[in-house]
Homo-oligomer: 410 residues x 2
């Protein structure tokens, strides 16, 4: 089946700069098909710090279990990613596969098992073709390059219609540092710690502890604030690596003023990467921003916003260009967060539709109709019950989603 | 837009018998369109007992607020239902509409406001056309009939493709009693106390307290165990009325042995009515039964089963005839109920697919492929972690759902 390109297919992809302290290779193991690279290797310099967040799924892959187990060591030398097969629900063969790939890497790269990260993405319930993968990894490991970011981003794709890359430069205490990020994801997107596969690499010198602290701070408002269809992947992974080659003095404190630029840049990147995934959501024709404000806590605001973002009836209405605000009221009502329905206010495209729980007398329907025809839909809900707010992002639910997902295995 | 008939359109509708103690009328108020009856009146004899369950939505209609407020009186004389408009999110006009219709009924039927039940179903956020409705109710109230069950079932439909009626006869202590039920619902079905609109009437003499006890017992395993798309209606209502005209001695105890037939018949009816709604789910082509067993509590089993039932990826796979059991594993994993993934067992159509968390060596794929072509799909999950189980019912997610819901208002 040919998946049509997302209407948000980027006009330009960013030029990805080199990052000091990392080498890469991609390879074709023929895991699911033979016409694309499906193996990515990243080799990091000694003393590279690492932090990460993973899916909260109780059916997580053996890979996730391995990564979670080694994360507290805080050091990474190797990352292996394969696409085409998620290594989920493979029983003991799944654990064995992780062990064998990790052992192969400790030999090839002369490092410890706790420094080898391994992600798999693709179909669930099929054993990994280990022999093919090992041959591909061995061959590729002999041929590492300093800049292969675009190939890397392409090699991890599954149902994505475009590869996803983000890059920024900033400085820490006068030293220029670079941050590159790649990610993949299109379906099974309702991250609940991270989404699908995302890797961020910087040459900055930052402790693993601080890297983790930043992820814990920024993932809830980036990757954990997006949803495509409300299904949470068994493979969600976000890893960040800091090679330290930029030679800034190591940063270890979240509140270090020298570090404030880096923090805001990283936050911005994570949000941008999360948006790239939603915009490539399966069958997506519209990118939807939903803000709920006026709640007593950020968590309540987020739960309400996600209830709207995951409502199939809201999403199909938007696909059809209908400003069906009644469905927004319905989706708020089912979110299991108590509120006063007679205080609901709703704006779409910054036009007031609902005030005090009913249709606003000021409602200018033609303005909303015009907004609904566009590709970027903005919904704002105010519940007038506090000072907190949260924003989440999603896409619409279209015939494209049904077509893609009713034929995935065939 | 023309909605195609459900493939489960009943070959035969039941012949609905009279129920002693109730008269009915239907009328055309022209609420949303002028080509169908959109008002239903049921008048009950003096001393009719009533019990009910309602949506848990925090954006429930003013009608629900009224019904909830009067329920503890336990007596009903009148039920008014209108289709075409849900009277939700209408602010003070919504409350006023309920008050005016109730006042009209207390005049017309010489009863108290606390004996008048009023349900509305249809679009959200438009004021009820009160004048039209009052004229239609006044006219129809002069022309009540003893048996109009089919017209009644048709008058409450919105996006339903068929009307839904169930009838049974049983006996209490040697006295024959009849139970009739009608319901409507097709979209916005993820009931969380009851679903859309369902009305059950019996001539048995049963106290309101016992009626309520039966609903509290049986609704969780019938209406609250179905889902179409996971969206919870603002109007969910199930009311049961017992006119007492069958002249059995009044029953008031759930454990009265004379009452055991009635209880099991009522339970069966509620489940059958719930199934009729799922089978008429928007765009449904398959009826799916999901059982999760081997859990430590019924609630856990139900939460896991509903996570599978509400997964867009599971539902689209089934629409495509794909036995994509990996997505079932994913949906279990995201349910926020802890389990051991290495113990998961899954059967589809009674064929073992997964054992101990991986593909069973006994898996006979052709048998499952054959089962997936049918209209009735059966999924059973065993987590081997306890003795509890729960069954829920849903339908698949098809292009039909998208077509219906992206064009609802237009």
């Amino acid at each position: 089946m040919k998946i049509p390109k997302s209407p948000f297919y980027p006009k330009n992809f960013p030029e990805m700069p080199k990052i000091k302290g990392i080498k890469m290779a991609v390879a074709k193991a023929g895991i699911r098909s033979s016409d694309k690279n499906d193996i990515l290797i990243m080799e990091f310099t000694q003393d590279t710090s690492v932090a990460g967040v993973f899916t909260t799924s109780y059916a997580a892959s053996s890979n996730i279990e391995h990564c979670r187990k080694i994360l507290h060591f805080g050091k990474a030398r190797v990352l292996i990613v394969n696409s085409g097969n998620a290594n989920v629900a493979n029983g003991s063969a799944g654990y064995k596969a992780v062990e064998e790939i990790v052992n192969l890497c400790t030999d090839l790269f002369q490092c410890k098992g706790e420094e080898v990260y391994f992600s798999s993405t693709g179909v669930i319930g099929k054993p990994l073709p280990l022999d093919k993968m090992k041959i591909a990894i061995e061959r590729a490991a002999k041929n590492l390059s300093v800049n292969l970011w675009e190939d890397a981003a392409i090699s991890i794709m599954t149902t994505d219609t475009y590869h996803k890359m983000v890059t920024r430069k900033t400085e820490i205490d006068g030293v220029e540092v670079t941050i590159n990020g790649i990610c993949k994801g299109s379906g099974m997107i309702a991250p609940n710690m991270a989404t699908m596969l995302s890797y961020v690499v910087t040459d900055a010198n930052i402790s693993a502890r601080l890297l983790q602290q930043m992820l814990d701070e920024y993932v809830p408002i980036s990757f954990n604030s997006i949803t495509v269809e409300g299904d949470t992947s068994t493979s969600d992974t976000l890893l960040i690596f800091a090679t330290g080659c930029a030679d800034n003095e190591q940063v270890d404190s979240f509140d270090d003023p020298k570090f404030s630029n880096f923090k805001s840049i990283l936050k911005e990147m994570l949000i941008e990467m999360a948006h790239l995934i939603v915009k490539d959501g399966e069958g997506a024709s519209k990118f939807i921003t939903i803000t709920v404000k006026g709640t007593s806590s950020v968590l309540s605001a987020k739960q309400l916003a996600l209830s709207v973002a995951n409502s199939p009836l809201v999403k199909t209405a938007i696909a059809g260009g209908d400003a069906n605000w009644g469905r927004i009221v319905m989706a708020l009502g089912k979110a299991e967060i108590k509120f006063d329905k007679n205080k609901i206010a709703i704006k779409i495209g910054n036009v007031q539709i609902v005030e005090n729980g009913e249709l606003s007398i000021k409602y200018a329907e033609h303005l909303v109709t015009e907004h609904m025809k566009g590709s970027n839909i903005e919904i704002e809900v105010d519940l007038s019950d506090g000072q907190s707010k949260a924003t989440v992002w999603t896409c619409d639910l279209t015939h494209g989603f049904i077509t893609i997902n009713s034929k995935y295995l065939t």
